[in-house]
């Protein structure tokens, strides 16, 4: 299989298919290659988690799909993103005919700054219904109250008439979820939805997302850097590093049969809470590469404990361990001699 094809979802109801997406930004310092050839697909009702550290391109990937990248300075240099077979990348944004908000809903990291402080919560939730679905204001507002109830906000009728400053962080995130699901989108993109929240509130929001997903059957793309949240929510996981997906597979594949040194590094940098598995925290030394001039070889090479000579010179291809699990690493090449025990290899699968 060619390297650009990416992992295909298990069943045939592929909802979203992204192929070889590349995004660049012009800055004063030069051109930043934020996303460098990303491919993935999402099936109906599935949850895909995109994991990676700040600056790895995970947010830019979904924002370019949603048409949220300001162009210029942004530029989509390659690839396609198809939702139910229709190309959604780079299409001109026309209110009312837009996929954004109707077919794809989005919730953001910081609910405090993502809502309009001068509009009531109810009006903000009603807005997409008026724009996309042609509801009258009255109908839309009534629906907004129902959506707030669905998001388990107490006293929804009263709350709909309040402004964002009267809500707490957790309640605002619920309101944002209500807004995102207003038009019954087939995909919900959640960009770090719980990073700004406390663990107890995080648990409430994650429960809510799971309940809503069960009720509506929508797919979820969850962007996060918290492996705990991934373990709890995801069906599929894509690990991103320096603008590329370095490992992709089912959540069990990625956690229990990690095949890329970066995935392993992330796991070992976190404390485990199993007392029998007590280990020293192993930080990943160094920092991610400069995407102004990304390295010729593997982006992780400079920090990788298993780096070989070739890693510095040439990009690795996707090596498929199973049909749905790949790792973009030279160690999986038949020419690699030392295969570290900590990683999962194809031979071990048979």
């Amino acid at each position: 299989m060619s390297s650009s094809a990416g992992a295909t979802a298990e069943n045939n109801d592929v909802l979203l298919e992204v192929e070889n997406l590349g995004v660049e930004f012009d800055t004063y310092g030069g051109v930043v290659q934020a996303v460098r050839g990303v491919s993935f697909s999402v099936a109906e009702g599935q949850t895909l988690a995109i994991v990676g550290e700040s600056g790895c391109g995970k947010s830019v990937t979904v924002q370019s799909m949603m048409g949220l990248i300001p162009m210029p300075p942004g530029r989509i240099v390659s690839g396609s993103a198809k939702l139910k077979g229709y190309q959604i990348l780079g299409r001109p944004i026309v209110n009312g005919n837009d996929i954004r908000g109707s077919e794809i809903g989005m919730i953001f990291q910081d609910p405090m700054t993502s809502l309009n402080p001068t509009m009531t919560i109810g009006d903000q939730i009603a807005e997409p219904l008026q724009v996309h679905r042609g509801y009258s204001y009255k109908q839309a507002f009534a629906e907004a109250i129902r959506l707030l109830e669905m998001s388990k906000i107490p006293e929804a009728t009263k709350r709909a008439k309040q402004y964002p400053f009267e809500f707490s962080g957790g309640m605002l995130q619920r309101a944002m979820i209500a807004m995102a699901i207003a038009c019954k989108p087939s995909i919900l993109v959640a960009d770090e939805p719980t990073t700004a929240l406390d663990v107890t509130i995080q648990a409430q929001i994650l429960d809510l997302l799971q309940d809503l997903q069960k009720e509506t059957g929508m797919a979820v793309i969850l962007i996060t850097h918290d492996l705990g949240v991934v373990a709890r929510m995801a069906d599929e996981v894509a690990v991103m590093y320096a603008g590329k997906i370095v490992e992709h597979g089912s959540v069990d594949d990625v956690f229990y049969r990690s095949a890329h040194p970066y995935t392993l590094g992330l796991k070992e940098a976190m404390p485990t809470n199993d007392p029998s598995l007590q280990h020293e925290l192993k930080p990943i030394e160094g920092s991610p590469p400069d995407l102004f001039s990304p390295p010729e070889g593997c982006g992780y090479c400079a920090r990788c404990p298993f780096a070989m000579q070739i890693c510095n010179r040439q990009q690795p291809n996707d090596s498929f361990l199973t049909d749905h699990h790949f790792s973009r690493c030279w160690l999986h090449d038949s020419g690699a001699r030392n295969k570290p025990d900590q990683l999962f290899f194809k031979d071990a699968a048979s």
Partner: protein, 323 residues
Amino acid sequence: MSNLLEVTELTKYFDIGTNQRVHAVENVSLDIAEKEIVGLVGESGSGKSTFGKTVLGLHDKSSGTVKYKDKLLPQKYKSKDFRDLATSMQMIFQDPYSSLNPRMTIGEIVGEGLRLHHKEQSSVVKERTAHWLEKVGLQADHMSRYPHEFSGGQRQRIGIARAMILEPEFVVCDEPISALDVSVQAQVINLLGELKESMGLTLLFIAHDLSMVRYVSDRMAVMYLGSLVEIGKADEVYFDPKHPYTEVLVGSNPEPDPELERSRPSTAIQGEIPSPVNVPAGCRFANRCPKVMEICRQVTPKLIPLKDLKGEIDRQVACHLYE
């Protein structure tokens, strides 16, 4: 082990006008032994940062006492007190972006304490600054650069070097890693661990990441809405929580293990932390507590010592369930 720091019934109110007060910290008593790491956890708004700052004198105490090496610290610090105590107590701040002065070079930021407190010659200050920058994993020639030239992890190291250059005995780390990426968090945690070993530091480690606090701390203290609800050995508090709130906190903390997460029932509780302005009577957790009883809404529970199998007191819990 002798106690380095004894905090007794520390209370901090903030007056916010119209006869209202924020009850940020109320009657918190906590002893910290020499060379111990005590982790302090709780939701935002539980008063953990205010507690750390009040202990160091960055806020005036409303009531209660803090003893350092059996010496009573002043209720309200004057500039002389800060000068005297800064050499033995220091703080590392949460946000590495706003806690460094953008108009000072790294050399000025890190060396400032030494210049002010020891009246050293500038060549000595420079030498010590270079030494400390290298010790926290930066380079001596970074001295002439400004904070904006560094990444979050590097800035946090600068904050650590600034706190450590006076070679303090007691350091309050206020969420030192929560603004950092996972891979960098481990770098900073390991650095703190090394410094603790080599300098014999005592740390109060404030954080909301429970797994990390359990990993670094000897003892763990849990705060809710300004009061201490549970304290004990870190592993025991994490794996066998006694207070219903600690149970909820531990249960809400997602573990990086898909099988465990699938098998675990959701422990999300309803409601949010109430406003510290109108603190409810009785137990502060009563309105969210899954095990609430009649008495909880009327009587404020006190910290009760619990004995382990050997009859030793190793845990204190403020809950009516254990009376």
